[in-house]
């Protein structure tokens, strides 16, 4: 039963899992980069980043590049730990059902 509890509800969506995957291997990613990589719409991506931000899994930095506003995302310590746990849980489920 413990495996089931390790499956993180917050990651139970393709886009959210995608955002975390990209941020795990990059220091940071901006909104447009995530949009391109995940093939998500603006509204869709915004709502998912908000959910992850609320869970304190990602950090959001708003800044200006020239005159253009730019939103940068990076993982928090909590987010990285939660993602690792989630992956381990996925692995053990797959291994059990083989």
């Amino acid at each position: 039963m413990s495996i089931i509890t390790n499956i993180n509800k917050l990651f139970d969506h393709r886009i959210r899992l995608g955002i975390m995957s990209v941020l795990m291997v990059n220091e940071y990613a901006d909104f447009n980069m995530l949009k391109e990589l995940l093939g998500a719409t603006d509204g869709n991506l915004a709502s998912h980043t908000k959910a992850l931000e609320k869970g304190e899994y990602i950090k959001v930095e708003k800044q200006f590049i020239g005159r253009k506003p730019n939103t940068r995302y990076s993982t928090t310590k909590l987010g990285r730990a939660a993602f690792k746990k989630h992956i381990e849980a996925l692995e053990s489920i797959i291994n059990k059902q083989k």
Binding site: G18, V22, N26
Partner: protein, 202 residues
């Protein structure tokens, strides 16, 4: 049924991690062509030195300048071919040629390469030209190893081979020319062929 979904999750995670951090559209064919250019260039230099200079290369002579020109042409043609074929491959995959991953790759490749290039120019200006062949191989190898973190991981092994060849060249400067031929010529061709069949022909 559920496990299949999780497997898909895992493979999607892996794919996104790779796509967002590595530039993998490098063309194997450009490696083969770079090797061929290097061999032609080396043959021209060899012929020049053997015919007009009695097998001895004198710094600041006419022949020396022609050899340097050949070297620059080889480098220039290799870069142009590499950019052209890589752009073509990236387009075919629907990948962007100039994005965060390729910028990072170019930057990390160029740092050891430019440092090495300047270093070689400095010691050439001091008349210590015996080491230049080995040093070119060493710095090029370091550049490849450094770049491999941001591209196809396999180019790391090509880097190791160039570093070893370069060290042999530093130890035995007399073989510098032939090691250069092996490293920049044959190794590129062998490696490019391997990459071409491993990644391009799919």
């Amino acid at each position: 049924m559920e496990s299949k979904d999780y497997l898909k999750d895992i493979s999607e995670i892996k794919d996104l991690m790779n796509k967002s951090s590595r530039f993998i559209s490098l063309s194997g064919l450009s490696g083969i062509l770079a090797g061929i250019y290097a061999l032609i260039g080396a043959a021209i230099a060899y012929w020049l030195v053997m015919t007009y200079s009695n097998g001895i290369l004198i710094l600041d002579g006419q022949i020396y300048r022609l050899c340097m020109l050949t070297l620059c042409l080889v480098a220039f043609l290799s870069i142009v071919t590499g950019i052209f074929l890589t752009t073509r491959k990236a387009k075919k995959h629907g990948a962007k040629i100039w994005d965060a991953t390729s910028k990072r790759l170019v930057l990390n490749f160029l740092i050891p390469l430019i440092v090495g290039g300047l270093y070689i120019l400095i010691i050439l200006s001091q008349g210590k030209y015996g080491q230049s062949g080995g040093l070119m191989l060493i710095f090029y190898g370091l550049a490849l190893v450094n770049a491999s973190k941001y591209s196809i991981g396999d180019i790391r092994y090509l880097g190791y081979i160039q570093i070893i060849l370069g060290l042999i060249g530093a130890w035995r400067p007399g073989f510098g020319f032939w090691l250069w031929v092996i490293g920049f010529g044959f190794m590129h061709i062998i490696y490019g062929t391997w990459m071409h069949f491993k990644y391009d022909r799919k």
